[in-house]
């Protein structure tokens, strides 16, 4: 009867949702009937449902009221109504974090968990583990172990999953249950097996050997659960990646065999794992691609989506592997699910021929407004890749992009378009003017400061070199009038570049600068005043140093040096040369854009790799007083990949010294190495000053030892040297299982490969955005020129790449890209030599029978010029 009245109340309250106008206080009031005897299960159930519903809607419960309701709820354990009891478990889980003293239900839950009613046992375990902390876990450990191997699947599963949740909290306790989990893994129930495997992996994932054993066991015996197969495929592919195992490994065979599994889920997981493997050959990809091709015509949308999304990824790296699926992809263009259609089109754009581009672009523009921002970014990335492939299509693309730029869209989307336009401009000189015009139009109405400043910077760089630079001035100056401080400051900098490069514009730029000096913002005024004064000097060298090519030092490094200078004030002015240089930005990242990954993390200025090394080396007392770190090389492997000890070396160059950092890894689990150092025998007048050994090198824990070497002072041209290296250490045998070493040890040594120091180790890359200006700035005081014949080189591309990697300098003005079908090319390289001397190299290349190269070197130091020419020859 009571229930009936309830219903009436609700119905009069709202038409369709009985919970719509719930009042928290009223519900808590009602909860008092929990204390009535006898318990009315139906009413209590209804009230518990209301409480959980309120919690689910995000209603806030104060600690006191929650605790009160929770305590009242505990009385309901007296009732034997099944659903009511289950709802009590749910309430416990929901309230575990808001109510106090939830542990009072421990004994009731333990009773249910070990009781006769199987329906209660699983849920009771899960509720109990939710409220248990590390200290109490010991008390229920015995029950948990029993529950894991219980013959009732729901009990076993619940115990395994709860254990997994508790691994984060108390790894050491849960680790003791590994035998029980092992037993559960051979269960006949598919879910139990899956959960047991998951738990086993989490407990053992740091022990590669154990994981390998586990994989071997289950791949041989076969699994029942498709979920477990997916899990095993992921473990196998992670292991392959870590061990850099070849594709002839049994792990790869296992993944490939899963392509023939009867569950689509497993087949897809295997295909996707193969596709994501680094350096997969086309032949290894083929079976994976062909199952994905089958999925493309599945009636299930999710399967089609999964297939086309994965094919899209394959197309990024191996477009030719996907061409076989072109027909199936064509059918998906009209798919009613727009996500599938977009992915299909962008994949086709990557694999299709040049002739199909126009048609596909037309198709996609018909529904681009209907798709979500994430997919619009995918489209833009596909266009960007296409422009690199078919440069002649740039006008179609540019048109399309400018239309997209006008549409609504979020920041990520707009940024992708702007990046794409910028890359087209850089690749195609013919598209420069139209591209700049589109961007100018865009910043007229752009709400994203970052994009506006980026475009202004680009205008400053490219605008002055176009046939009619004057037309950009208006767009830039409009920003000074209308925008926020950051954009105004960027606009002022852009204006200065026009003034510095175009003499006929200089008077008007100076007038505009004068206006900017009245700006309300400090930064804008400062910039304007600074540029005004530099421009008025009308000196090319000043313009080059202060307007075109800004600072090339690392910003965190500069901050640290300045801080140091203020701590130890001295009479000497601060010397910019003591600041470590910024490592040249990597410009080649376009091809590696993650497909649809939207990064949510704010980008912060991470300290560069070199700044980290600087910090690490400064912490070693032996290396005090060497000055700032000048350059750190890429790691060089001194051993084969599959040897007992793996050693790689990083060369750190300082003004007059070098430090060799040897990263050693011991791959023998029955040995502990101590006092590890690498002895070096130089071939030239290099002097080894000091060794810093690694005190101890246990199994699979990398550690570093160092050698300090003084560079020859009397002969500045001796830049290259070969060192023969031997690793010396004390071996102590140890028990592979416990890692306990023997008391005695013996000395041993291990011969490593020779280590080369080349001219590239003495030069740091520096990007000069305006090479011509920098060339004039240095002047021809120390200029030398020589001609070489490179007989073994067959193409200009090869020659350019060889020179760049040999000298280790930064190519400027995109001169590292050799245009097609040309037989001459000019390469511009910039760098700083150890000791802070600027070096610029201009190499004119001509292709005839072999490549002829005329090298011109300019530097602020005469010796440096000789060094470079000597090393080239």
């Amino acid at each position: 009867m009571i229930k009936k009245f309830d219903k009436k109340d609700e119905e009069s309250g709202s038409g369709s949702n009985p919970f719509q106008h719930l009042e928290k206080s009223a519900v808590l009031q009602e909860a008092r009937i929990f204390n009535e005897t006898p318990i009315n299960p139906r009413r209590c159930l209804h009230i518990l449902t209301k409480i959980i519903y309120l919690l689910n809607q995000g209603e806030h419960f104060g600690t006191t009221e929650a605790t009160e309701a929770f305590f009242a709820m505990t009385r309901l354990f007296q009732s034997n109504d099944q659903t009511l009891r289950r709802m009590c478990y749910l309430t416990i889980k929901e309230m575990a974090n808001i109510s106090e003293d939830v542990i009072i239900v421990t004994s009731s839950l333990t009773k249910d968990m070990t009781g006769k009613e199987d329906v209660y046992r699983g849920p009771a375990i899960r509720a109990l583990c939710r409220i248990t902390d590390t200290t109490m876990l010991q008390a229920i450990e015995r029950y948990m172990k029993q529950a894991i191997v219980d013959k009732v699947p729901s009990v076993s599963s619940s115990a395994l999953v709860s254990s997994l949740h508790m691994v984060k909290m108390s790894f050491d306790v849960v680790k003791r249950w590994v035998n029980e989990a092992q037993e559960a893994a051979s269960s006949d129930n598919i879910m139990v097996q899956y959960h047991a495997l998951g738990l086993l992996y989490h407990l053992r994932k740091n022990d590669r050997l154990a994981v390998t054993k586990m994989l071997n066991k289950f791949t041989k015996s076969g699994l029942k659960s498709p979920f477990a197969y997916c899990m095993m495929i992921r473990i196998a592919s992670k292991l392959l990646e870590e061990t850099e195992g070849g594709h002839d490994s049994p792990l790869f065979d296992f993944i490939e065999s899963c392509l023939r599994n009867k569950h689509e889920m497993v087949v897809y997981e295997a295909a996707s794992a193969i596709v994501h493997m680094p350096n997969c050959t086309a032949r290894e990809l083929a079976p994976a691609v062909s199952v994905l091709q089958l999925f493309c015509s599945s009636p299930k949308a999710a399967l089609r989506y999964a297939a086309v999304r994965t094919l899209n990824k394959v197309a990024m790296k191996h477009p030719s592997a996907v061409t076989a699926c072109n027909l199936d992809l064509e059918n998906l263009i009209t798919d009613s699910n727009r996500s599938i259609a977009t992915l299909a089109i962008t994949t086709l754009l990557k694999t299709g021929s040049e002739s199909s581009v126009d048609r596909l672009m037309k198709q996609i523009s018909s529904f681009v407004s209907e798709i979500s921002d994430e997919f619009k970014v995918v489209v833009v990335q596909a266009i960007s890749a296409l422009c690199q492939k078919y440069p002649r299509k740039h006008s179609v693309m540019m048109n399309f992009l400018s239309n997209m730029l006008r549409d609504d869209g979020g920041f990520e989307y707009k940024r992708a378009i702007v990046d794409c336009i910028i890359s087209i401009i850089e690749e195609n000189p013919e598209s420069k003017e139209t591209g700049l015009a589109h961007l100018c139009e865009f910043i007229e109405d752009c709400e994203h400061t970052v994009l506006a400043t980026k475009i202004l910077h680009l205008l400053g760089k490219e605008g002055p070199r176009t046939p009619t630079p004057s037309k950009y001035i208006r767009f830039i100056f409009n920003r000074v009038v209308l925008e926020s401080e950051a954009v105004r400051a960027a606009a002022v900098s852009a204006l200065a570049k026009f003034g510095a490069q175009n003499d006929d514009l200089l008077p008007s730029v100076l007038v505009l600068m004068k206006r900017c000096m009245m700006d309300s913002d400090d930064e804008v005024r400062d910039r304007a005043t600074f540029y005004m004064n530099v421009l008025q000097q009308k000196q090319k060298a000043l313009n080059a140093a202060y307007i075109f090519n800004g600072l090339s030092v690392s910003v965190p490094g500069l901050e640290k040096s300045l801080h140091q200078y203020t701590l130890e004030p001295s009479e000497k002015p601060f010397d910019m040369k003591t600041v470590p240089l910024a490592t040249a930005p990597i410009t080649e990242q376009k091809t590696e854009i993650a497909p649809v990954a939207t990064s949510k993390l704010p980008e912060k200025l991470a300290p560069s790799r070199q700044d980290i090394y600087q910090e690490q080396l400064a912490a070693i007392p032996e290396f005090k007083g060497l000055g700032p770190l000048f350059k750190s090389s890429e790691p060089v492997q001194l051993t084969e990949a599959e040897t007992e000890y793996v050693v790689r070396c990083i060369k750190h160059t300082f003004a007059n010294h070098m430090i060799f950092q040897f990263d050693c890894t011991n791959t023998l689990n029955d040995q502990l190495l101590q006092r590890v150092l690498v002895q070096m025998e130089p071939s030239e007048a290099y002097e080894v000053l000091n060794y810093v050994p690694a005190p101890s090198l246990p199994y699979s824990q990398p550690s570093s030892c160092y050698s300090l070497v003084r560079l020859p002072e009397d002969d500045p041209t001796a830049v290259s040297c070969t060192f023969s290296c031997t690793m010396k250490y004390l071996v102590r045998d140890c028990d592979p299982n416990t890692g306990e070493p023997d008391d005695d040890g013996y000395d041993d040594e291990y011969v490593l490969e020779d280590l080369e120091v080349t001219v590239a180790d003495h030069i740091q890359k520096v990007l000069k955005p305006n090479f011509g200006a920098a060339w004039d700035e240095i002047g021809d005081d120390n200029e030398k020129e020589e001609t070489f014949a490179l007989a073994t080189v067959r193409t200009l591309d090869e020659a350019v790449n060889n020179i760049i990697s040999f000298l280790g300098m930064q190519p400027c003005e995109r001169s590292d890209k050799v245009p097609e079908n040309k037989n001459s090319h000019v390469l511009f390289l910039a760098g700083v030599f150890r000791g802070g001397h600027d070096v610029l190299v201009r190499a004119r290349l001509a292709l005839a029978d072999g490549v002829t190269m005329q090298v011109t070197v300019r530097s602020t130091d005469e010796n440096v010029v000789d060094v470079i020419l000597a090393s080239v020859g």
Binding site: V161, H165, R234
Partner: protein, 178 residues
């Protein structure tokens, strides 16, 4: 980009009505939309992008979302961008089938709300803290062992009760008349 092998497959699951209001929702990854406001924004965004066309799968805010609708209800399962879409589908199908069996195929808002406790229990049996606990609807139904309430049945039982009481009364009257 590679997936860390883990049992934590499901990031969130929610059931919305045909106005996009939340009826039930669970978030299993504490880093994903920690506040209620973010959660409801996400749900609304998902609803707006999905309620017009029954497309089964969508990709929003860096998440893969599979969904299914029935009359005035929308069921969603959310996973990470790299997650196996078919695993998410298995969860969604299990959720939908279990609810449908429990409600005797009346998968619509009113019946669902009348049996909200059962729905809470079904979700609890399918996913535990983001781990797929069970994927077979038959098993879920057995474990939950829930007796559906619907209005008609209730009225019948009420009528029966009344008849019994009436007959008692008539008996008493008959007895007393003698």
């Amino acid at each position: 980009l590679c997936l860390e092998p883990s049992l934590y497959t499901v990031k969130a699951v929610f059931i919305l009505d045909n106005d996009g209001n939340r009826l039930l929702s669970k978030y299993y990854d504490p880093e994903l939309y920690p506040s209620m406001k973010e959660q409801k924004n996400f749900e609304l965004n998902v609803f707006n992008k999905t309620h017009k066309a029954d497309n089964e799968i969508a990709f929003l805010e860096g998440m893969t979302i599979v969904y299914k609708s029935s009359i005035d209800l929308f069921f969603y399962v959310v996973g990470s961008a790299q997650e196996n879409e078919l695993m998410l589908m298995a969860v969604l199908n299990c959720l939908f089938e279990s609810v449908s069996q429990m409600l005797r195929k009346n998968v619509e808002k009113r019946t669902l709300l009348d049996n909200m406790d059962g729905v809470f229990l079904v979700v609890d049996e399918i996913i535990d803290g983001g781990v797929i606990l069970e994927s077979d609807p038959q098993q879920v139904i057995e474990k939950v062992n829930y007796r559906v309430r619907d209005c008609v049945e209730e009225q019948i039982s009420l009528c029966n009760e009344l008849t019994v009481q009436l007959s008692d009364v008539t008996k008493v009257l008959q007895v007393s008349s003698f």
